[in-house]
């Protein structure tokens, strides 16, 4: 069997016949790969932040509603028997915590001011374990299970109402039957999440009081599940849909005979997923451009090397090297060149990812823009294994593509003619 090690030996030694030229090509490659690695890690880092922030700020990894609730947000479409749903959750692996909520649009009012509000009735202690809401409290305190008429307001809503801790706020909402019901709460805390929808609209009250006020009995609108991690979500959604014979929220309530819809975080708000797809597409475009530019340099280097060594290729042909062996020898040489550049690039880019992953990249000046996207102002690059494989694959594929033309030329050389060249 033919021993491939000669290709490696020849390829490696030929590269260093011209250290400056090879060095420059390797440096260009390394720079490109390092930039791609870092860019990709930035991308992965902030996408991970968006997903995590989105899920943990409030939404959870998945939610169970009565059929049609997510589309209509009508109280009439509520879960009448939460215990039945809780039973379906029993024994499922990969669940971190579960809580129930009552969600309704309403109006917050104080003497001389009122503002639209999104009222959340929550189980105070369970909510603390599931979402980050309690951690966002900047003034006063989070709700206690023993609270009755306490409310925690988003700081933007509080500003608009001109209320402070201890002040009274009247919350109003339409009941199932169309009547308007109101309830008085006292402000016990103010929260700031950085997400405008929460800060400007949220009024968080104890679940029991909200059920009483809105005449819901034991009914809730959302059962929110936090999974151990994102990897568990698809499996959990599938299992719950099976156990509850539930839909995915896309069909109308009338069409869904089960009475439930089970929705993953990305189905509840496709924004994060779309950002992810957009960012991926953007990264791949940049990756393609950088790889193209760098590979043009590789192609140039290989063609120059080919030209200088045409005698040598002619000699090899004369000695009995077959066309196919010649072809693969040049491909190997290109792959070696790109591999050296890639290894250096990954080391440099990897170091930058490691360093900035620790200290973060502070983009606080864009904090307002970021808040719409659930992004934190400090980004921690995080290189996903898939992205690493993508860059590596693109580099190797590019090397092969860049090597094809020189390899084809080498394989077609006429040995006698090539050896006559000086």
């Amino acid at each position: 069997m033919f021993d491939l090690s000669i290709y490696l030996k020849l390829g490696w030694r030929n590269l260093w016949l011209h250290p400056l030229r090879t060095g420059l090509t390797v440096a260009a490659l390394a720079l490109g790969i390092a930039a791609l690695t870092f860019l990709s890690a930035m991308n992965d880092g902030w996408l991970q932040q968006i997903r995590t922030n989105f899920a943990l700020t409030m939404t959870g990894h998945l939610q169970i509603h009565a059929s049609g609730f997510q589309q209509t947000l009508k109280l009439a479409r509520h879960i009448k028997d939460p215990a039945q749903v809780m039973q379906a959750l029993d024994g499922l692996a990969g669940i971190h915590s579960v809580t129930s909520r009552l969600r309704v649009s309403g109006l917050a009012s104080v003497a001389g001011a009122n503002a639209g509000a999104l009222v959340y009735g929550v189980e105070a202690d369970k909510e603390r374990h599931l979402s980050r809401l309690a951690g966002f409290v900047t003034q006063g305190r989070w709700l206690l299970d023993s609270d009755d008429r306490a409310v925690v307001l988003g700081d933007g809503l509080a500003d608009r109402l001109q209320v402070a801790l201890g002040d009274k706020v009247v919350l109003m909402a339409a009941l199932d039957n169309g009547d308007i019901a109101s309830e008085v709460f006292r402000v016990r805390g103010l929260l700031h999440s950085g997400v405008l929808d929460i800060d400007d609209l949220a009024a968080v009250v104890p679940l029991g009081r909200a059920q009483q006020w809105l005449d819901m009995g034991q009914g809730v609108t959302d059962i929110v599940v936090r999974a151990d991690d994102f990897e568990q979500v698809t499996g959990l959604v599938d299992q719950l849909r099976q156990r509850l014979h539930a839909g995915d929220g896309s069909q109308s309530a009338a069409a869904d005979s089960s009475g439930y819809e089970v929705m993953s975080w990305s189905e509840i708000d496709p924004m994060a997923e779309q950002w992810s797809a957009f960012a991926d597409a953007y990264t791949w475009i940049v990756l393609a451009v950088v790889i193209l530019v760098v590979l043009a340099e590789v192609l140039n280097t290989m063609l120059m090397s080919m030209h200088e060594r045409s005698r040598e290729f002619g000699l090899m042909g004369a000695l009995g090297v077959r066309d196919s062996q010649m072809f693969f020898m040049v491909i190997w040489e290109t792959v070696i060149l790109v591999s050296v550049g890639s290894v250096l690039g990954f080391m440099t880019g990897g170091w930058a990812v490691w360093h900035f992953g620790k200290v973060g990249i502070d983009l606080s000046q864009f904090a307002v823009a970021f808040s719409f996207m659930y992004m934190s102002p400090v980004i921690h690059p995080l290189l996903a294994f898939d992205s690493l494989l993508g860059i590596l694959g693109a580099a190797i594929l590019g090397a092969v593509v860049a090597g094809l033309f020189p390899a084809w030329k080498a394989a077609r050389l006429d040995p006698a003619a090539a050896m006559r060249e000086v």
Binding site: I6, E312, L315, G320, D323
Partner: protein, 227 residues
């Protein structure tokens, strides 16, 4: 049967509008074990004939049998395999692979045949010793003189134990002393190993060593003188 049997070989070269008849019906017979020189001035067709016999080039017409094979009917891949197994080459400009050591250059052809590293290195070392370069296996071509490089080329040509070694102007780049030494070496290898040598040259030194001299002029055999 002759090791090389060429009959009425014709070859034309075209360069733009200009056409040159390099071989004009050459017939040649070389017996196994021969030490033959192809003599003639520049442009007489020596290298062209050598390239055709070495399957590096193809004639327009004629028949050619080398080591019992009709080499003109072989495909490109078959010709490459034939060269690897049956023919050793020594070129005017040494033509060693500059990034390989002397040992690696000699072992290269055996590596193409898939011979194990241990075996091919042993063969290479033995051949290097045989051509007077014992202990120089680790040197690169640029660390050796022209004569030493040509000896490595001879060792490489013998590494696969070919039926025939084709040498194209092997002494052209060497001084007379080194050239003489190289010719003595090739003659000795011919006698001890029985390997057939066909050497193209117009160097009197080469012709003096040959047992058979074939004179070419204007693409035709003018004289076939056997010593």
């Amino acid at each position: 049967m002759a090791l090389i049997e060429a009959v009425d070989i014709r070859k034309r070269y075209r360069s733009g509008e200009v056409e040159a008849q390099a071989l004009n019906g050459v017939s040649l017979s070389v017996q196994a074990g021969a030490f033959t020189a192809l003599a003639g001035p520049s442009g007489s067709g020596k290298t062209t004939l050598l390239n055709i016999i070495g399957t590096l080039d193809r004639p327009e017409s004629g028949t050619l049998t080398v080591a019992g094979r009709d080499v003109l009917s072989l495909s490109a891949a078959e010709r490459a395999a034939f060269r690897l197994s049956h023919i050793g080459f020594v070129f005017q400009a040494y033509n060693l692979i500059r990034v390989l050591t002397a040992r690696e250059n000699v072992a290269y052809v055996q590596q193409l045949q898939g011979v194990s590293a241990a075996e091919r290195n042993a063969v290479a070392d033995r051949l290097l010793a045989e051509v007077g370069l014992d202990g120089m296996g680790d040197r690169r071509p640029d660390q050796l003189s022209g004569g030493q490089q040509q000896r490595i080329a001879v060792a490489r040509a013998l590494a696969t134990s070919p039926d025939i070694v084709l040498a194209d102007e092997p002494t052209a780049n060497l001084d007379s002393h080194t050239g003489e030494s190289l010719m003595q070496l090739m003659q000795q290898l011919n006698e001890t190993r029985g390997t057939t040598f066909l050497i193209s040259s117009h160097d009197p030194l080469v012709l003096a060593h040959a047992r058979q001299v074939v004179h070419l002029r204007d693409g035709l055999v003018q004289e076939d003188a056997s010593a």
